[in-house]
């Protein structure tokens, strides 16, 4: 048989399978719909997982190489200034940044803001110029330079509700009076993932709000130019200062990837029950041939079709059905995740906070997801259809036609 005749023969078989399926559309539609839903859920979970992991990998580039915290009684406490000096002396360390940060809970809004202390004068000159929309104020009012801040977009939207989008009043229990902070700028949309719940305060103001004494810091960020040295220096810090804990960027990345993987696998495992039920349905549908179908196969065999040919028809039917469902399921999932931003599913992955960014997931669709989707959805489906297909194909024509 030449290649051409093989090709033509297969085309005829496909043609027959298609006609066959169209004639029994009511039976196939149900299977198709369930199949599409299954592929849709599996691929949505994988797409979200893929994009979040990628997003996290990109963002983690900005993380410090090592974060150093002081641990006392198993809990994190403030770190002292001298520690930073000692760490800076370790060969290989380029810089140690002393960080001042914490959270502020606003009761009326029931929102938690992330507060970060920085020197805002430096920011105004530096690279932040491009990512911040600066506000200008008339200069006639006396303002305290320590009480200024830049806020994220999400924060500003919330503050508008309580009409504090120009100045925000901080209050902590135990204070005699409120402290008002001027909002001098907001972060632009493209930094939403990191900046949405952020308030960047002038460092002295931040100390005040966080009630952090001078000479103490929340933690240290250590920067190391040579990535090969990171693990060794982390080890060195732990040896020199037994009271300090080091977290490297690699560790943070791994644990995030672990968490995303764990979450999606958890969703998928709960879906396995659904897949199993679907397979039972398929088995049932495929083995219980209707009288008409039986007669049809009987006639086909009577006019000279052999078992292998009937099997091929069944195989093509399965392949066409799973092909259509996979393609539509994947396309639907793509639209759901990247256009509709995966309502309902995304929350499982990113957390629960009220102010969490409504960021758009960037598409990261790879050939590898296709392999996984096929393995989870299509392979079990085809496997389940083999036995009933064979059972239908081997029955003898006389038995079928006479309806025994």
């Amino acid at each position: 048989m030449t290649l051409r005749t093989i090709f033509e023969r297969q085309r005829d078989i496909i043609d027959y399978s298609l006609q066959n399926m169209l004639r029994r559309w009511s039976k196939n539609t149900l299977i198709l719909i369930i199949f599409i839903v299954l592929v849709f859920i599996v691929s949505s979970v994988l797409f979200i997982n893929g994009s979040l992991t990628k997003e996290m990998m990109v963002t983690s580039m900005d993380l410090p190489d090592i974060t150093v915290q002081r641990i006392k009684g198993g809990r994190q406490v403030n770190i002292q200034a001298p520690d930073a000096l000692e760490i800076e002396k370790i060969p290989g360390v380029e810089a140690v940044e002393k960080r001042v940060w914490g959270y502020f809970y606003q009761e009326t809004l029931q929102a938690n803001f992330t507060i970060y202390g920085m020197d805002l004068d430096q920011l105004e000159k530096g690279e932040y110029n491009q990512i911040v929309d600066w506000k200008s104020y008339p200069d006639d009012i006396e303002r305290n330079p320590d009480f200024r801040m830049i806020v994220g977009h999400g924060v500003l939207e919330l503050l508008k509700n309580i009409e504090m989008d120009n100045t925000f009043l901080f209050f902590q229990p135990g204070w005699q009076q409120l402290i008002s902070f001027d909002i001098i700028g907001t972060f632009r949309g493209e930094t939403e993932l990191q900046s949405n719940d952020m308030m960047i305060l002038q460092i002295q103001g931040a100390r005040k709000v966080l009630e952090l004494p001078d000479n103490e810091f929340t933690d240290l960020a250590v920067f190391i130019p040579n990535p090969e040295e990171i693990d060794n220096i982390a080890l060195k810090i732990q040896r020199l200062f037994p009271g300090l804990r080091t977290v490297t960027r690699e560790q943070i990345k791994n644990s995030y990837a672990s968490v995303f993987g764990w979450k999606s696998a958890f969703v998928l495992s709960s879906l396995l029950a659904g897949i199993f039920a679907f397979l039972i349905l398929i088995w049932d549908k495929a083995s219980g041939l209707s009288l008409e179908e039986k007669r049809e196969i009987g006639i086909l065999k009577a006019v000279g079709w052999d078992t292998a040919l009937v099997l091929q028809v069944k195989f093509w039917e399965g392949l066409i059905l799973s092909g259509i469902s996979s393609v539509s399921g994947i396309l639907l999932a793509y639209a759901f995740v990247y256009w509709l931003r995966a309502p309902g599913l995304k929350q499982i992955f990113i957390g629960w906070s009220t102010i969490y960014p409504s960021f758009r997931l960037t598409p990261d669709v790879d050939f590898k997801f296709l392999v996984l989707i096929i393995t989870i959805c299509v392979v079990p489906y085809l496997a389940v259809t083999i036995f009933p297909a064979w059972k239908a194909a081997i029955t003898d024509p006389d038995v079928m036609i006479r309806n025994i």
């Binding site: 994988l46 560790q251 993987g261 696998a265 495992s269 393995t375 496997a383």
Partner: protein
């Protein structure tokens, strides 16, 4: 143990495979026991029908097996994100004792399924199914392969510990490293290249001589193809580690077998390994087909199929050579020197 979508996918795939294979072996056993071509009883009739089931299942199994080989490599690559210290598939595979073992087993079983299918195809062309008992016995004998695979897979998955620091490909295939990977990389490019081309010329020379000489030598030459192709596969992997990879990555120190499979290198590895697998699979099967001598009409058909296999393996080898040495040629033309 890591609960991860990829691990889950592999678990689903392996379970499906084993389930189907078990169904197959059950029927194969019945055929093996009760086959009698001259009988006209109902039982023989049913057994003949069962042969269809078995060939459909093994066809499907081969397809899934190839898919799983891919999936396994992708999984290893993906899990490198989760395991500390692992930078690509090698790190994941070597994070416990089972990873590379499982990969090797997978490659072996892919070839075995392929060869079984070709023999099955040949046998099905005959009305009397002369090989039926032998091939179903073979099927029962290879049943341990999928069982071993699933055991190794679960051992591998359970022993994946996200807190163990693993070695990355830089250190596994590093020249100063001890162990098999290191000594493979250490065998300098010139040695592995000459080994590889020796085997390749041996293969082609053997074929040339076989074509020219008489019947007796012909048989020996064709039988020799089987071990030669295994050697070819091993030396090809060796050359990939010590020579081809350096030119793909354009780095002397990077000798990884897996990094170039992904989209980062435009799926270069997919083409490379595809041609290698096709060549080796077809070549080995060609050697195996020589063992079929009785009955004469089957032997004749076997020779015909053998010829086809020889052609396929030849073109596969050429494709491998072109794909494998393309980066080297491009590099040499661009820079006018070796790495």
């Amino acid at each position: 143990m890591i609960l991860h979508p990829w691990i889950l996918g592999l678990a689903v795939g392996h379970s499906t495979l084993l389930l189907l294979f078990s169904l197959c072996v059950l029927n194969a056993w019945q055929i093996f026991r009760g086959w009698d071509y001259n009988s006209t009883g109902e039982n023989q009739f049913l057994l003949e029908k069962k042969t269809y089931l078995i060939s459909s299942i093994i066809n499907f199994t081969l397809f899934v097996q190839i898919l799983m080989l891919f999936l396994f490599e992708i999984t290893a690559d993906e899990l490198a994100n989760v395991l500390p210290g692992a930078m690509c598939a090698v790190g994941t595979l070597s994070s416990n004792n089972y990873g590379f073992l499982l990969l090797n087993l997978k490659i072996v079983s892919t070839f075995v399924y392929f060869m079984w299918l070709v023999i099955n195809y040949l046998d099905n062309q005959m009305e009397t199914y002369p090989l039926v008992k032998k091939k179903y016995l073979a099927l029962i004998l290879i049943y341990p392969l999928p069982i071993m695979e699933i055991i190794l897979f679960f051992k591998f998955a359970f022993h994946l510990d996200p807190s163990v620091i693993t070695s990355c490909c830089g250190s596994v295939f590093n020249e100063s490293a001890k162990g098999i990977g290191g000594s493979l990389a250490n065998s300098s490019a010139s040695i592995s290249l000459s080994l590889f081309f020796c085997v390749a010329f041996l293969l082609l020379g053997n074929r040339y001589i076989t074509c020219r000489w008489g019947r007796g030598h012909k048989r020996l030459g064709a039988l020799l193809e089987f071990p030669f192709w295994i050697l070819f596969f091993i030396t090809a992997i060796l050359v990939t580690i010590s020579f081809i990879s350096t030119y793909v990555y354009e780095m002397v120190s990077h000798n990884c077998l897996f990094c170039f499979i992904g989209s980062q290198y435009h799926y270069y590895g997919v083409f490379l390994y595809f041609s290698l697998f096709i060549a080796t699979g077809a070549g080995m099967t060609g050697g195996l087909l020589e063992m079929i001598t009785k009955p004469a009409i089957l032997a004749k058909k076997a020779r015909l199929l053998q010829k086809k296999m020889h052609t396929v393996s030849f073109y596969g080898m050429m494709l491998f050579l072109v794909t494998g040495f393309w980066p080297f040629i491009v590099y040499y033309i661009k820079t006018g020197r070796l790495i």
